[in-house]
Symmetry: C2
Subunit: 455 residues, 2 copies
């Protein structure tokens, strides 16, 4: 990617070399190969080696790089990993992090160890920041924010502000804006770094600061924070408490993680996975996450069997009828998922004035009618040419139109209704819609056969 | 959200007030109500009113705000909207934008109008930037980058750099880093704004700049750019050409849009929607996007019917057998989607050394066995208690274990194989897996019945 730095080959061969070097305690090899490599790349490498090797590498490097590596490790690797550190060692690494990242790691520790670690952080301000941030729920603005930021009093001059930047500079990795507050720390606005660079040293902040500023409140849900930052193209947003006092700042990197996780979670909900799991979780966790929706599917299948039982006479009279149950069922399922996905997505991109419910449903029914007619014609031809049975062909074709319209209706309205009740509509897109539409499909098809085929 | 600015009620009542004000050409009302409102909020409002009203509002406001509003409009609204502007007016608005946003809008215009608009842009540098950026494909780094950035020669002093910031300041909305180049514009590194603020005026860039810098090349795929920025927590990344010369800069806001679109696209692929559509596209576009997978589902259903035909004798002997086809099919479908979603997600979070293919499949089969046994026991009880038929209960139960294992296998291996061939594995998660598993489920179930039930 970049030609300015040594590129880093994450090959199996290199991993073996590294493991051997650690075994013979060759600190020189580790230091040399890791020099100038981005810490995110080292983390990716350490995710793939044993915890002892990883700890050896981190111990060899300096605390600042070590802290960055620990931040970037995958959760699973890190959890195993944190157990190997003494409280004092951990306290050192945490002191090198921004407060929000430090709190994330402390929250992963066993409760007893947390206090031990915090008590050993030498920087009293950092320890106070961590204790403050631990109060907030992980999923709200307070849980995302860091305490590190540059704050200027509205009455200061540029020179005083630059002094503050010098004082805070070491703690604040990236300055985007300088936040402006009054004597009681109430947020008033911001000054861009560009203005600071270009202004005269004796200019007063109050004469140049920008009163137009977006802020979020500590209790705001993380997804709403993501929406705000995305809508206004912000790279950082100040967080205020109920009294409007500035208490922290959220940066875009944390929000990008929120957006990515949210998309993954919706996709899992849609595919009927009940809990937030990953492929490398335990067999037990994976099975437990998958069973609930499979059991609901089983109940749906039983209801389907019960529905078929109603039409046993028709099936006896025309055995070919059973052949096309899967076709009708599958079409209903597919149409339902398509419809609900589109609705879920347009609900996510919420705009201020939506089309009315009626207008949406009407449009959706027209699309369903159009696709239904195409599918009906093709399926009629298939059945007629294969079975030579014109009336069975008609039954399959006509019921497909009905099933497509019904499934579209269910797929469109269910997420809208769930959304109105404050339930995540992605939940509807998956097995729930499929199961309902399976049963409806069977009933429509066999009822149509009962009506149209000779008794 | 923020208490510092007038909050903006996007109520139906306000929309009507606005429309009336435009009708009586009340510029005062528009100016007054829009003063201090964030342009993104005005865009959201204008997305919901007629194009004439929207154009009137934009004309009343100043060019800079107008340009921001136009950038933030939804694609559909904007397309209708751009037709109403004279080339000269458009040229004015484009001059107020960053070059990447201007190019995005020019690309939406009819080919002939593009040249007209570009020829009327008065700022010659801007026109040249636009022409340069138009060369790049929209989906690569070159298509995402803007020309606006602060660049310093490595031999400059801080004072010279500040002069450059003053010169470029108006064009560059947000400065994150100052990029450092040699005399031939080859990218050497970066200097943070923090260092510029704190350094002495006579310090030379070459003594303080940071040689560790991540960059991307113009032809890099936009999703890879997103991965790089996410991995290294970057808010901006410089873009270099094949010769390593600095040609532009990509900012995180554009990449957040890429990430969001990508997630939407994957979700649509998974749910069997063939093209990138939204709920408010035309009926024809929506039908066309949905039909391909529905037709494949139809083919699958026909193959299912054909498979059932093989076992017609068994169905004749035991009519209840047909009852449980939907149950077995649905379980296979659900398990397949669950498995493939998990695999698709772990493929997306690619790490350097993956578990071996064999290890993944073995684990997945264990999960399938565990869930399969639970489902088998429950379904046996259902069938036995309802139908009083122990051997039919055994057939349903045993075939469910087989179906769950087979569907898990298909759901796990298909995305991995597609990924190896460079095809988006999300494509596999949807109707493809479901259709295949439907057919396999039917065959396993009826074959098991043929083996276990008395002839």
């Amino acid at each position: 990617m970049s030609e300015l730095k040594p590129t880093f080959e994450l090959s199996k061969e290199f991993r073996e070399l590294l493991e051997q070097a650690v075994e013979r305690e060759d600190t020189g090899f580790v230091k040399e190969t890791m020099a100038g490599v981005n810490s995110a790349d080292i983390s990716a490498l350490l995710d793939e080696v044993g915890s002892e090797v990883a700890k050896y590498v981190i111990d060899v490097l300096n605390d600042e790089v070590g802290a960055e590596i620990i931040e970037d490790l995958e959760d699973d690797t890190r959890n195993k990993f944190l157990e190997m550190f003494e409280s004092g060692e951990l306290a050192n690494y945490l002191s090198e992090m921004e407060s929000d990242d430090a709190v994330d790691i402390i929250n992963e520790l066993p409760v007893r160890k947390r206090e031990e670690v915090i008590s050993q952080i030498e920087d009293a301000e950092m320890a106070a920041h961590i204790l403050e941030l631990m109060r907030y729920d992980e999923d709200c603005a307070g849980g995302l924010m860091a305490k590190e930021m540059i704050v200027a009093n509205v009455n200061w001059t540029i020179l005083q502000t630059i002094d503050e930047i010098r004082r805070q500079g070491e703690n604040v990795e990236k300055i985007y804006s300088i936040y402006v507050v009054d004597d009681r720390y109430k947020l008033l606005g911001k000054v861009s770094v560009k203005k600071i660079i270009l202004a005269n040293d004796n200019t007063h902040i109050k004469d140049i600061y920008d009163k137009d500023i977006e802020s979020v409140e500590t209790y705001m849900d993380e997804e709403d924070v993501a929406d705000v930052m995305q809508k206004y193209d912000l790279v950082a947003v100040p967080v205020v408490n109920l009294q409007g006092k500035l208490v922290g700042r959220i940066t875009i990197d944390d929000v990008v993680d929120v957006i990515t996780e949210q998309a993954e979670e919706d996709m899992q909900l849609m595919s009927g996975i009940a809990a937030d799991v990953e492929e490398d979780d335990s067999i037990w966790a994976l099975s437990k996450a998958r069973l609930p929706w499979l059991l609901i599917g089983l109940v749906g299948g039983t209801l389907g069997a019960w529905a078929i039982g109603f039409f046993e006479g028709d099936l006896d009279r025309n055995a070919s009828l059973a052949f096309f149950i899967p076709l009708v069922m599958a079409t209903g399922g597919n149409v339902g998922i398509q419809s609900s996905t589109l609705v879920v997505q347009s609900l996510a991109n919420k705009s201020a004035f939506d089309d009315s419910f009626g207008k949406r449903v009407a449009k959706m029914l027209l699309v369903a009618l159009l696709t239904g007619i195409v599918l009906a014609l093709i399926s009629f031809l298939i059945v007629y040419l294969w079975k030579g049975d014109e009336s069975l062909g008609q039954v399959v074709g006509i019921s497909l139109i009905g099933v497509v319209m019904l499934s579209s209706f269910m797929g469109t309205t269910t997420p809208i209704v769930l959304d109105k009740f404050g339930i995540n509509p992605a939940l509807a897109s998956g097995p729930f819609i499929t199961t309902t539409n399976d049963i409806l499909g069977i009933i429509v098809y066999l009822a149509m056969a009962n009506l149209l085929l000779p008794h």
